[in-house]
């Protein structure tokens, strides 16, 4: 589903964020991506989202070389991938419902379908009762769950998450991870970048480890 072939990423300042990364993530898999701060986890996810292009090497999604996608094709590519990013998350002047509906509005679904799907997604993350609330009135964990609902509402085949449990307590973190496992169960390929080794080593999934931009474990 996701393939990296000898991918390197050098930022303009000459810093190598990724070096010769080759890895493959199978369809329907759930994989953790870990490593120290600055190891290149976010960079790897950004390449999949086409927020950046690799300096060398190929990234393939579903067999398709991402280098063949021009800037006009980027929006359509992103609509096929759900993302949960720790920073820039929710629109704080819109209700929970409107936040979750955003990908569907962009993709051009009609109002009834949007209503149905948004409620289904909110139901899965346990926030159906809060659809009219403004995000600012929600706790950190609830906001993160709204972000997850938004990521899955378009039923993407791939779900990426960057530090989804970054500032949550252990119980909430476990809950969030359980949510990702549930989505993985219904056929979504999930890739989660996380520091939280204690948590992810308890869950029985493949773990890819980066160190200074190089792969040190889990390449499979």
């Amino acid at each position: 589903m996701i393939q990296f072939e000898r991918v390197s990423k050098r930022y303009e300042e000459g810093h190598d964020a990724l070096r010769e990364i080759s890895l493959e993530i199978a369809r329907d898999d759930l994989v953790f991506l870990t490593g120290h701060s600055g190891a290149g986890k976010s960079t790897l996810l950004r390449l999949i989202m086409l927020m950046d292009r690799p300096t060398r090497g190929k990234v393939r999604i579903d067999g398709r070389d991402l280098a063949t996608i021009g800037s006009r094709g980027i929006p359509a590519h992103r609509r096929n991938i759900g993302v949960v990013f720790q920073n820039h998350q929710l629109l704080f002047d819109r209700s929970v419902f409107d936040n979750v509906a955003l990908p569907l509005v962009i993709a051009g679904y009609d109002q009834r379908e949007i209503g149905r799907r948004v409620r289904a997604a909110l139901d899965k993350v346990g926030l159906l009762a809060r659809e009219r609330a403004l995000p600012i009135t929600l706790s950190g964990g609830e906001q993160q769950r709204v972000g997850i609902a938004r990521a899955v509402v378009g039923r993407p085949r791939i779900l990426l998450a960057d530090e989804p449990t970054g500032n949550l307590d252990p119980a909430l973190s476990a809950e969030i991870m359980a949510l990702f496992e549930a989505f993985n169960q219904v056929g979504v390929t999930v890739l989660i970048a996380s520091h939280d080794l204690a948590l992810i080593s308890r869950l029985q999934h493949r773990i890819i480890t980066l160190r200074d931009g190089q792969l040190v474990g889990g390449a499979a």
């Binding site: 989202m49 927020m51 929006p75 359509a76 590519h77 992103r78 609509r79 096929n80 759900g82 993302v83 990013f85 820039h88 998350q89 929710l90 629109l91 955003l102 990908p103 509005v105 962009i106 993709a107 051009g108 679904y109 009609d110 109002q111 379908e113 938004r150 378009g154 039923r155 993407p156 085949r157 056929g187």
Partner: protein, 322 residues
């Protein structure tokens, strides 16, 4: 996989809705963007009114000057044809021949009227007007020729007529008295160009003001733009609300401009018609009219779109998720 389209929509492909749905959604997003942009504009009445006023004044100025010019043209056009051709006849033409010539000329279709000023009458008039009566009386001979004054029929080019008259055998010199008409026309033309130039400059100003306003709007919603792009919003999708914002600012500005012109005209109407009645003229101030107002509003809308387009194309591309 089932071929049934109803079921395909339930499938895993997230980005694809059916074509009809997509069209409806596109239309919906237009009305949604339009309404949302209008709400944002109206939510900040103080700054919006200020923007509208600035644009309104910038548009009202050339519009009002243009209207003033139209009125001036209407006034000057209502005067009787001011051109007059003076035909100085040759010295050997006697008064009877001069009278015959006058009659022939007066019968021509391109001549409005022709009047004979016999040489003696001309001399007498000269003596009276110049105060040189004694000098004139002492002259043995009248040095003046007979003079025929011709007014061209309306619509006839006086310069062409002058050429034709100059070729007549009886005529020594044909002089067109229209220096001042030409001067007036030149002034009118100059004013028209000045108004056009001023209008061009102010239109550019309006586009830049709106561009800057939209740039600020973009800046204040940077975070939102990033999120929309991250979840797959196309450039067109991101652009749309800002184009509508520009449209609303422009349309509002055009409306203000029309109102300003209307108020100015109401203010001038009384004095102008009093002045006109003093001169026994039926002249009435021409207003901007419904069509003119609509044109101003339309122009405002177009300028708003142009300004928004300028801002959007310069600044939206730079906002990418990082």
């Amino acid at each position: 996989m089932a071929a049934n389209p109803g079921q395909r929509r339930e499938g895993a492909s997230a980005s694809r809705a059916r074509l009809g749905d997509r069209y409806r959604a596109w239309r919906d997003h237009h009305s949604l963007s339009a309404a949302d942009s209008l709400r944002r504009v109206l939510d900040n009445p103080a700054s919006s009114i200020l923007t509208w006023l600035v644009i309104g004044i910038a548009m009202a100025l050339p519009a009002a000057l243009g209207i003033a010019l139209d009125n001036a043209r209407a006034v000057s056009g209502s005067w009787d044809s001011p051109a007059q051709i003076s035909l100085f006849l040759k010295a050997d033409i006697d008064e009877q021949q001069a009278q015959d010539l006058r009659l022939t000329l007066a019968d021509r279709g391109d001549v409005g009227s022709a009047q004979l000023v016999p040489r003696d009458a001309a001399l007498a008039e000269f003596a009276e007007l110049s105060g040189f009566a004694d000098v004139v009386a002492s002259l043995d001979d009248n040095p003046l020729p007979h003079l025929v004054l011709v007014e061209p029929a309306s619509g006839v080019d006086p310069a062409v007529l002058r050429e034709a008259f100059a070729a007549l055998p009886e005529v020594d010199q044909a002089v067109l008295d229209m220096a001042w008409v030409q001067r007036l026309n030149n002034i009118m033309e100059l004013s028209r160009r000045l108004v056009l130039a001023l209008g061009g400059v102010l239109v550019l100003g309006v586009v830049l003001i709106l561009g800057n306003t939209i740039r600020l709007a973009i800046e204040s919603r940077r975070e939102e733009i990033v999120i929309v792009k991250l979840v797959g919003g196309s450039n067109a999708f991101v652009r749309r609300p800002f184009l509508y914002t520009g449209l609303w600012y422009g349309v509002g500005g055009g409306l203000f401009a029309a109102l300003l012109v209307l108020v100015a005209l109401l203010f001038l109407d009384g004095p102008v018609s009093r002045l006109a009645s003093l001169y026994q003229s039926g002249f009435e101030l021409q207003g901007i009219g419904l069509i003119g107002s609509l044109q101003l509003i339309l122009l405002g809308g177009l300028l708003g779109l142009a300004g928004a387009w300028l801002a959007v194309s310069r600044h939206l591309g730079a906002i990418e998720p990082r």
